[in-house]
Each structure stands twice: as structure tokens, then as C-alpha cells.
């Protein structure tokens, strides 16, 4: 910063940025610091914070229910991610084709995006009705596969299926919109050239579409993985942790053990563990994506 005008510019820049930064400190940095500090303490009936070091963390790693929720979270996220990619890509490919009527296509697109509008509470509600013993899905199961009324929330894998379905329904539009925009930015000439060379649609998909979308897909995988791993709402509302805590994912476990049970300091420790976990995941995925380049 040599001359005065440069310095003035500099300060001006910071001025514009400052409200957001202040908010960042208030709602991000300070709370996180509080969290970390709290996780090393214990709150007793006689007020003061008592320093207990790694007590909570040791308990966490020894707790079988922690590992259970960790496993549930991974299963939930893996299935959701796969279905997100399949549905998102599927619909995007269909909508990317040249349609006879663009109005019809845009209408279809608007309809397909619709689930995005519903909250987790609303989605859980809607699907509880659909999964009801007297509901539509049971009816279809009877008519198509002749299976008796199933309580979709009774068996562990059934409950997981219900959870994943509801989650995917609610959130795949985000995937689809981004993949569609990615598809539309792929130059048509690449496909033309491939067609001239005799490549069929499947080959074109594997050798052109996927590589072109690589960074976008990488980004989507990261965002989706973290988002799904962190989700509390659906397990809490739809399955309540599922039969015998099978669908009790990590964030819901933290919610239960921490805030809902009043054991705040332990909850803080769990939250810190979750944070570390999320950072590790981001790091791993980013490394995998960067190495592929």
C-alpha cells in the first residue's frame, strides 16, 4: 500500500465486506469457538463449567450407539447420493433432448422441479401418508407384487428405504437443474464428431458427457454428501431413528444425545466429532477429484 488512494481503496473494500464479516464472526466463528471450549468441559448442577479434558471424546468413541449412527449415516448418504445421480442425470438427459414443443418441455421441467419447494416437515408428512398401511404404495405393492400390507416403517431396511425415498424425492431437483445446465453447456460439435466416427449413444454418453461434466459432478458429490450426512430433519420426523435405532443417523443421534436430552456438553463433543468428520470427507473427496485431473 504505497500511495494514499490505494490505501483508501483498500479500506473502502473492507468497508463493503465488513457487515458480512461481522455476521460471520457472530454466527460462525464465535459459536464454533464456544462449541469447542464446551466440549472439553462438563456442566454440573452447581453452575460452573468443570474442565474434563477428553472425557466426552473417549466416551464417544467407546459408545456403540455412536458407531451405529455413524454407520446409519453412511448408508443413508450412499443410497441417497446414488439415487440423486441416477434421477438427476436421467431427467436431465430427457429434458436436454430436442423436444417437439419447447413449451411442453419447460412445463415438464417446472413440474419435475416441484418437490424442491417442500420443507422437510411437509415431505415427511406427505410420505407418511403415502406409506400408510392403507396408502397408495401399499396398494401398488398388493396389486403389482401381491404382498400384504407393509408397514414401511417397521423393518430396519424398509425404514431406511422409506427415509431414502423421501429424501431423494425432496432434493433431487437440485441435482437435475445443475446437471441439465451442465449438459447444455457441452458443445454440440463434440457429439457431432463422435457420431460421424460411428459412436453409438451409449459410447457418446460415456466418453463425452461424463468427462465434460466431471468438475460439476465432483462439486455436486461434495455438496450432496455433506448435506445428506448432516441431515437431522427426516430421520427425526419420519422414522424417529427407525426400528431399534437403525435409521438413527449421526446428526439425529447428536440432536438426541445433546440438545434433546439436556446433556449439552456431551452434545458439544459429539458436534465437534461430526465437524472433524465433515472436514475429513471434504478433504478426501477433493483429493480424489483433483487427482483425477
Amino acid at each position: 500500500m504505497r500511495n494514499l488512494t490505494q490505501k483508501k481503496q483498500y479500506l473502502q473494500g473492507y468497508l463493503y465486506v465488513s457487515p458480512a464479516v461481522i455476521l460471520l464472526i457472530l454466527i460462525g466463528i464465535y459459536p464454533l469457538a464456544d462449541l469447542v471450549v464446551l466440549s472439553f468441559h462438563r456442566i454440573r448442577a452447581d453452575k460452573p463449567l468443570e474442565f474434563v479434558g477428553l472425557l466426552h471424546f473417549i466416551y464417544v468413541f467407546k459408545d456403540k450407539w455412536f458407531w451405529n449412527s455413524f454407520k446409519a449415516d453412511l448408508i443413508f448418504t450412499a443410497f441417497t447420493l446414488i439415487l440423486h445421480l441416477v434421477l438427476g442425470m436421467g431427467f436431465a438427459l430427457l429434458l436436454n433432448e430436442r423436444w417437439v414443443s419447447t413449451t411442453l418441455r419447460n412445463l415438464m421441467r417446472s413440474i419435475i422441479i416441484m418437490p424442491w419447494v417442500f420443507s422437510t416437515a411437509a415431505s415427511a408428512l406427505i410420505w407418511t401418508l403415502l406409506l400408510h398401511p392403507f396408502g397408495i404404495l401399499n396398494f401398488l405393492a398388493k396389486v403389482l407384487f401381491n404382498i400384504g400390507p407393509i408397514d414401511f416403517l417397521s423393518g430396519p431396511w424398509l425404514a431406511m428405504f422409506s427415509l431414502v425415498s423421501t429424501n431423494v424425492w425432496m432434493s433431487f431437483p437440485f441435482f437435475m437443474v445443475l446437471i441439465l445446465s451442465g449438459l447444455q453447456s457441452i458443445p454440440v460439435e463434440l457429439y457431432e464428431a463422435a457420431r460421424v466416427d460411428g459412436a453409438g449413444p451409449f459410447k457418446r454418453f460415456v466418453y463425452i458427457t461424463i468427462p465434460q461434466l466431471r468438475t460439476l459432478l465432483g462439486y455436486l458429490v461434495i455438496i450432496d454428501t455433506i448435506g445428506t450426512l448432516s441431515q437431522v430433519d427426516l430421520p427425526r420426523l419420519l422414522t424417529g431413528g427407525g426400528p431399534s435405532r437403525f435409521t438413527e443417523t449421526l446428526p439425529y443421534h447428536i440432536n438426541r444425545m445433546g440438545l434433546l436430552s439436556g446433556n449439552i456438553a456431551y452434545g458439544a463433543a459429539l458436534s465437534v466429532v461430526m465437524l472433524i468428520f465433515v472436514v475429513a470427507i471434504i478433504g478426501t473427496i477433493m483429493k480424489a477429484v483433483i487427482q483425477k485431473e
Partner: protein, 278 residues
């Protein structure tokens, strides 16, 4: 001749599959709406009938009688609007700052703000809970605005920065040469150009804030500050399930979003695409 047939056959398949897919996707929502206008016995009858035999407005009428429902609606509205405006304002000028100035810690600050949305909400629950109690804003709408900012501000900054980056800097330079102060240039030139971006991100922000559940349910206790999502979730605790009533509430909760979303859809998608492709 044969080519023409192949083309229309392909079209048929594409349109057909998409329609089936779209119908399956939309069906749960249609079913929700139907459940809000049919008597409960009919909604729950087995085998389920797709065509309603009897329509009733009783559930919607009941909504008007319960004052809590009105409060839920009001709270959702206030919290969402305030959060959106706050984040658009703070995020917008921050985006301008990040875009037009080379700040020494600029990169770090920007990444930090964006990283904020990566933090699992659960992890922020406990610190926010303590803050709410120590500032005595537990069970207030203010607390919800505060909490919602944690995930709304980053998206505003991100998308608006991408948007502003696209506006050629020559426009402001021209204004500066003409003697306008930077602030005036910002207001008169940049702002009108950013409006579409603001609408796009604003809609998204409003949507996410309106539908937020975890913070809403954790930091509120009475209809004084409870939002629609909390109201809907209360259904799950009860034994006697008023399916019709809750579906009516959910429909009412979702309809504003549907309308806003469809009106501003184009901008929202543009915004999402632009922001993410950076």
C-alpha cells in the same frame, strides 16, 4: 421416410417417459392436496380411490379458527422476509467488495463465509442454544433470523459475487470518470443490473428460510415465534391424527412458495446455475 418415423418414435419415447416420470414426482403433492379437501375416512380408505367422491372445506375452515395457525404463518413470513433482506443487503455489498477490490485477506474471508454453510446445522445447535439463552432471545423470531443467516448469507454472497463479477467494470469506471463517487456509481449503475440476480438468490433464500425446521423447532416454545414447519411437525407427536387438518396446513404452508417459485423460477435457476458453475 423411415428417418421421419424414427424421429417421431424417439420423440414419443422421450415425451412419454418424461411424462410418466413427472407424474410420479408430482403425485405425492397432488395426494397431499386431495387429502386436504376430502373427508379423512375417504383419504384413508382401502383400496385407495384416486377420484374424490366427496369434497369438503372443513379443514380449511378449521384453520381459520385456530389462532396458532395464523401465528405460524405470520412468524414464517416475518422470519423469512427479514432473513432474506438482511442477507441480500449484507451479502450484496460484501459481494461487491469481494468482486471489485483486491483485499489482502479477501480470499480467506470469502472462503470462510462460504464454508459457513458447510457446517452441519447440528453442530451449531448447541452454541446457538446457549447464545439464545444468554442474550435472552430464546423463543423469539429474532433468534430464528440469527440462526437462518448461517446458511442464507453464504449463498447470497456466493451467487451475488458471481453475478457482479459478470458486470463489466468499465461501467463503473465510466461513472467514476464522470465525477460520481463510488457509492453513487454503485447505486445508480450496479444495483439496477444486479436486480435479476437479487431476485433469483432472494427467492432461494426465502424458500430455504421458510422451510427451515431444525433451528425453528429447537429455539422456539410457543406460537409466539413458532413457524409453519414447527406447526406441521407437531402432527407427528400426536396420537389422534388429524390428517385432513394437517394436510390443509401443509398446503397453505406450501402454496406461497409454489407461487413465488413458479413466478421467479427462471431467475432462480439462472442464479443457481451461474453461481455453481464458477
Amino acid at each position: 421416410m423411415f428417418q421421419k418415423h424414427r424421429k417421431s418414435f424417439k420423440q414419443l419415447i422421450i415425451i412419454g417417459v418424461t411424462c410418466i416420470g413427472a407424474f410420479s414426482v408430482v403425485f405425492p403433492a397432488i395426494w397431499m392436496f386431495l387429502a386436504s379437501v376430502r373427508p379423512i375416512m375417504e383419504t384413508l380408505q382401502y383400496p385407495p380411490k384416486l377420484i374424490p367422491q366427496e369434497l369438503t372445506a372443513e379443514f380449511y375452515l378449521k384453520l381459520f379458527r385456530k389462532t396458532e395457525y395464523f401465528m405460524y404463518f405470520l412468524n414464517s413470513y416475518i422470519v423469512s422476509v427479514v432473513t432474506t433482506l438482511l442477507c441480500l443487503a449484507a451479502g450484496g455489498i460484501a459481494a461487491y467488495g469481494f468482486s471489485r477490490f483486491k483485499l489482502r485477506w479477501g480470499r480467506f474471508l470469502l472462503v470462510s463465509i462460504l464454508a459457513l454453510q458447510m457446517i452441519p446445522a447440528v453442530s451449531l445447535l448447541i452454541p446457538y442454544f446457549r447464545i439464545a439463552h444468554s442474550l435472552r432471545i430464546y423463543d423469539t423470531r429474532l433468534m430464528l433470523v440469527f440462526a437462518n443467516t448461517s446458511f442464507v448469507l453464504p449463498i447470497c454472497v456466493w451467487f451475488l459475487k458471481a453475478y457482479i463479477d459478470q458486470i463489466p467494470i468499465e461501467l463503473e469506471e465510466a461513472a467514476l470518470i464522470d465525477g460520481a463517487t463510488r457509492l453513487k456509481g454503485l447505486w445508480l449503475i450496479i444495483f439496477p443490473l444486479v436486480v435479476p440476480g437479487l431476485i433469483g438468490v432472494g427467492t432461494l433464500a426465502f424458500l430455504r428460510s421458510w422451510n427451515e425446521f431444525l433451528f425453528a423447532v429447537s429455539f422456539t416454545e410457543t406460537p409466539k415465534s413458532q413457524t409453519l414447519t414447527v406447526g406441521i411437525s407437531l402432527f407427528f407427536g400426536e396420537y389422534v391424527r388429524d390428517w385432513g387438518g394437517i394436510m390443509a396446513l401443509t398446503t397453505v404452508a406450501s402454496v406461497p412458495l409454489l407461487i413465488i417459485f413458479f413466478v421467479f423460477q427462471k431467475r432462480v435457476i439462472e442464479g443457481v446455475m451461474q453461481g455453481s458453475l464458477k
